[in-house]
């Protein structure tokens, strides 16, 4: 691990220097938030977007009430709204009153919102669309140690960033300044690291990389929750064969952890057919560029969906499986800026063997899977040795964990392997090798850019 990290750092510095042309510091590579970003958020909401949950309702209200900075209900059950311009209070209340009748909220909230004497109005500093645009921009661009979560906070009229205890603020403030976001729009809070006795196989929210998912009777693992760039969609990536279909069909329901009404987390959305006919397919009737699919999330609100990879209490190496107990998670994932190389250490996490690591032994191979049953070829996959795996780990993230000041890196999606011995818990314990499709192959195959 140390040697791979040592290799990684100089290369990363080179990339940043090349991008900025000057000092090799990350904030200088950030792009400033365009002035139209808040309007685009409102436009997306008005066009029917629901992926942000009630926040999309607030944005739709802001389309009617300029300068609306948030809508929430206080402990006494009173609706509270922020307005940038209090002189337009009566006009705003009238508009909210009209909007309230169609709000998908409780009857009490509907009856009080916009009613004089029943709704409190506070001085706001920022429009809610500004907060959403800024939080999205920060989440997409800023990588800083201890970055746990970010929220457009309608109850504080601020962007709310949560960090681990004692995490330095300077990297955040530098990044926020580089994006052109006023520092006064940000509030910070700290949280203890995530600790739980929950297993990767249990039902747990928010969803994240490494958790057990199921489609029909096929058990797999979730790779990465992602934004689909330029499509204003949220969902997650996993292995294509986890759908049980190789024909390109979509629309299958995916659950976490088991099939059940309350466990539905998405519907297969992008899952190209395994129909490549390259010579490297070696005549296999099922052949693909990458064993990957995109599942559109049915609920990507923050309590239920988060861009994170779950870690477990112990990690396995040298053919040993890891623990399945969730002990922490990695937020703030970057896409690995290189192609994996032979000799580097790669990690994966899945519902059967937890976090395990191995050494990349080959890149861009064309392995044939299930050659004695239903042969299928995955083109240009990478292979690592010494990483325990088991049935059900398919679709799990292949990554490099956060260390020191480096963020976690998304490398690819795990889909197959072999081993000479398995224990009674379906875990490879000897001669273990794993296969994964690289991030770039996944994006090429699915014709989308994803932000993990």
């Amino acid at each position: 691990m140390q040697s791979s990290r040592a290799l990684l750092l100089p290369g990363l510095a080179l990339v940043i220097v090349a991008c900025s042309g000057e000092s090799p510091t990350r904030p200088e590579t950030l792009l400033s938030v365009t002035a139209s970003a808040p309007q685009l958020e409102i436009a997306a909401a008005v066009q029917g977007r629901r992926s942000r949950g009630f926040e999309d309702e607030i944005l739709r209200m802001e389309a009617q009430v300029a300068g609306l900075g948030g809508v929430w209900v206080d402990e006494a059950g009173t609706p509270v709204v922020y307005l940038k311009d209090l002189s337009r209070r009566s006009e705003a209340m009238q508009a909210l009153r009209l909007f309230a009748s169609s709000l998908p909220v409780g009857a009490s909230f509907r009856s009080k919102l916009g009613a004089e004497g029943s709704t409190a109005v506070l001085q706001g500093q920022f429009g809610f669309s500004e907060l959403v645009a800024w939080s999205r921009s920060i989440a997409a661009s800023l990588r800083a140690p201890g970055f746990l979560s970010i929220d457009a906070d309608e109850a504080q009229n601020r962007v709310h960033i949560t960090t681990t205890k004692g995490a330095p603020r300077e990297p955040f403030l530098r990044g926020i300044g580089a994006l052109g976001i006023p520092e006064s729009a940000i509030v910070f809070s700290e949280s203890v690291p995530f600790v739980s006795a929950t297993s990767l196989q249990d039902r747990y929210r928010p969803t994240g990389g490494g958790q057990q998912i199921v489609t029909g009777t096929i058990l797999c693992s979730l790779a990465f929750n992602v934004d689909v760039q330029f499509y204003a969609e949220e969902g997650f990536l996993t292995a294509s064969h986890c759908s049980g279909s190789f024909s390109g069909s979509t629309g299958a329901s995916v659950y976490q952890n088991n099939v059940g009404i309350g466990n539905l987390i998405g519907t297969t959305s992008l899952n190209p057919a395994w129909d490549r006919t390259d010579s490297d397919c070696r005549g296999a009737s099922l052949c693909t560029d990458a064993d990957a699919m995109y599942v559109h999330s049915s609920d990507s609100t923050s309590p239920n969906w988060s861009k994170r990879i779950y870690s477990t209490s112990t990690w396995g190496s040298s053919n040993n499986p890891g623990s399945l107990t969730i002990s922490a998670y990695w937020p703030g994932i970057w896409v690995f800026p290189y192609s994996p190389w032979v000799g580097m250490t790669a990690y994966k996490v899945g519902r059967t063997t937890g976090v395990t690591s191995g050494t990349v032994a080959a890149t861009c191979e064309n392995p044939m899977l299930d050659s004695l049953t239903v042969p299928k070829v995955v083109l240009c996959a990478d292979r690592a040795t010494g990483a325990s795996w088991g049935p059900g780990d398919s679709g799990g993230p292949v990554f490099y964990p956060a260390a020191q000041t480096d963020p976690p890196y998304a490398i690819g999606i795990f889909f197959g392997g072999k081993g000479s011995a398995f224990n009674g818990s379906n875990q490879c314990t000897s001669g273990c090798e794993i296969l994964f499709s690289e991030w770039s192959s996944v994006q090429w195959h699915l014709s989308r850019y994803f932000s993990p």
Binding site: L219, H241, L369, G390, P391, G417, A421, G431
Partner: protein, 164 residues
């Protein structure tokens, strides 16, 4: 059953499969303290005497002998058996095949069975990841089913004799 079989107690089999350090003896035949098993896993081979390189059909059948339905995680691509030499060392098969790493959930009712048939040609495990493929030496071997059903199982293994 038509071929020679060797009955082992659950603990003996676990030791065999996990560490391959146990020596097979008749003393393994009974253990009154063993917990009630969920599955009996029976392995049959055909033919039971074969030339090295000849295809031997290995059928592994798990029977739910508990009073409850059991849901198991299966993957038909993974090797469903282990070959042990006379010193109970795990020597084969080579398990060279890459498998898709999804699992399929199968529910087995009490008394019902789940069976997998695979082939073995006498291929041995590699000594190291980069070593050459090889075959086992002529002799008698124990073929023991491993459907990765946990520890609470009763195994009935088979024997096969390979000739040059």
């Amino acid at each position: 059953m038509t071929m020679s079989q060797l009955k082992l107690d659950a603990i003996g089999v676990r030791v065999l499969l996990m560490t391959c350090a146990c020596t097979l003896t008749a003393s393994c035949a009974a253990d009154d303290t063993a917990p009630t098993a969920d599955f009996e896993v029976v392995t049959t081979v055909s033919p039971s005497v074969a030339n090295i390189g000849e295809r031997i059909a290995v059928t592994v059948t798990a029977t739910n002998i508990s009073t409850q339905s059991q849901t198991i995680l299966t993957n038909d691509c993974l090797t469903a058996f282990a070959v042990l030499d006379s010193a109970a060392t795990h020597v084969g098969p080579s398990a060279e095949q890459f498998c898709a790493a999804s699992g399929k959930m199968v529910t087995i009712l009490p008394g019902a069975q789940y069976a997998v048939t695979q082939e073995w040609t006498g291929d041995a495990m590699r000594l190291s990841p980069n070593s050459q493929p090889r075959m086992v030496e002529p002799g008698s071997y124990t073929v023991s089913g491993n459907l990765r059903l946990g520890a609470n199982i009763r195994i009935v293994a088979a024997t096969v004799r390979l000739i040059p």
